[in-house]
Symmetry: C2
Subunit: 277 residues, 2 copies
């Protein structure tokens, strides 16, 4: 089986897209109340335009076991209609090693997603249970998109006689954890300086970039700073801007239009940077 990076490259070039769609069913924003029907409509309307779907577990857990069943039904539907689109469980999981064995089992076996977001606060030994799944990918939180992220992530840390911001240290560690070629990073579009430095530190790792759209990070900067030297290995994530593009019965059509617009805007930036598909 090709590994995650190869699968991502295949679907990205096949559909000429770096768009990752966040499937975050929020009862306060959904135009219909049925979570699975909502997700299916969004998926059916967008799967030829996206390289990845990124359901965030929190939105499903908020509904308890019923929500987890809806999460499972959503994964099944993506596999049915768009088996080549990668699924990234936005889980931000991170516990001590024996417990991460269980989290990794949940994500990569029970739910069978292609990748997950993880939190490396507990150190490199805690990453190993995720990374043992060679054909999956683990996207390590590096510099998040929220205003409060700076409180810890931007602070200068002293390590091995050097000083660097915490997010840079994580980027360096991510390189060292990438023995099997299955590590990625999460870096928000809202802090383009940090995003650019992270890409410089990790020239090849896939970077998942939330924060465009509703969080109003600059799309142009996000694309320019997150792509690798071949104009690839960036996933531009949008959730609210796509799935809640309309609050009426035309929500799926509106999601398609929003996805197409985002894809085209990204591709214009890529083209201007010299990267045709």
């Amino acid at each position: 089986m090709p590994n995650f990076v190869q699968r991502l490259a295949n679907i990205s070039s096949g559909s000429q897209t770096l768009v990752c769609i966040g499937l975050d069913p929020n009862p306060e924003l959904m135009p219909i109340s049925d979570v699975v029907a909502f997700n299916k409509s969004i998926i059916d309307a967008t799967h030829d335009l996206a390289c990845a779907y990124k359901p965030n577990l929190a939105y499903y857990e908020a509904r308890g076991s019923t929500g987890i069943r809806q999460f499972e039904a959503t994964i099944t539907h993506i596999r049915d209609v768009a088996p080549e689109v990668v699924i990234i469980a936005d889980a931000k999981r991170g516990d001590f090693p024996p417990t991460n064995v269980q989290y990794a089992r949940a994500l990569f076996e029970t739910w069978g997603v292609d990748a997950a977001t993880v939190n490396s606060f507990l150190g490199g030994d805690s990453m190993e249970p995720f990374l043992e799944y060679e054909d999956k990918a683990s996207f390590v939180l590096c510099r998040t998109s929220n205003p409060g992220a700076a409180e810890f992530q931007d602070l200068t840390m002293q390590v091995d006689g050097k000083s660097m911001p915490y997010y840079q240290l994580i980027a360096h560690r991510a390189n060292s954890w990438n023995i099997r070629g299955n590590v990625g990073l999460v870096a928000g579009a809202t802090y383009p300086t940090q995003l650019a430095e992270i890409r410089k530190t990790c020239p090849e790792l896939p970077i998942l970039v939330p924060g465009v759209g509703a969080q109003s990070g600059s799309l142009q900067q996000a694309v320019q700073t997150s792509i690798n030297s071949a104009g690839r290995n960036s996933l531009i994530a949008s959730s609210r801007g796509i799935i809640y593009a309309s609050s009426n019965s035309d929500f799926a059509e509106a999601a398609r239009t929003a996805t197409m617009n985002l894809r085209d805007e990204i591709n214009t930036v890529l083209k201007n940077a010299g990267f045709e598909w």
Copy 2:
């Protein structure tokens, strides 16, 4: 409704115990395969000896939505037979603020637990959705019990012209987040020096202390360093040492004996330090 700290004080002094039992059903270690039956047997055999149950979500998620139903049935059973014992969901959740709204809803409303472990990597703004639940408690990861914890948590960070280890900075921040009296900390028994420093920085916050027993932290040091000036507000967590005390059909009875031994050992340390119940 009394807040978490009051509820914890009530059950701790009522049952004269600081023991928190981790309910982590591991298929490779369980003497019977039925998760709910296993948990019920453990709970029935121990609830008069414990101040808290701490199910770790990872073990339930590994079974998908079925596991989450088992988690829900476990909570229901604890409420039925031991309504005064607090339930701490060991979840280590942490995402950006709007997503933590959903995680907090899952934990404190849908599942209705009394407390949860959380990860503050995303900053103080991300803690707020948890802390808005005034009568619940959020135990912030401060210094974890695994060997790799030092990789980030022990590094020196520079903040406001001062230098301190990351875990100490979290401890200071936890004090500042404790406006509503509902913040706790997680600090492992395996690193007693750090645990003692954390208690010094946060004289009153409840501290959840994993790492005794299977992880072989010293119980005496863990108790001495984690209690507050009244000999309270410490939760000594044990999972494997209690729930897998026997791999035979007498597992519930063995769990009771192990819990009683742990409670008594803790109480001896408390007594020697001048704290009778």
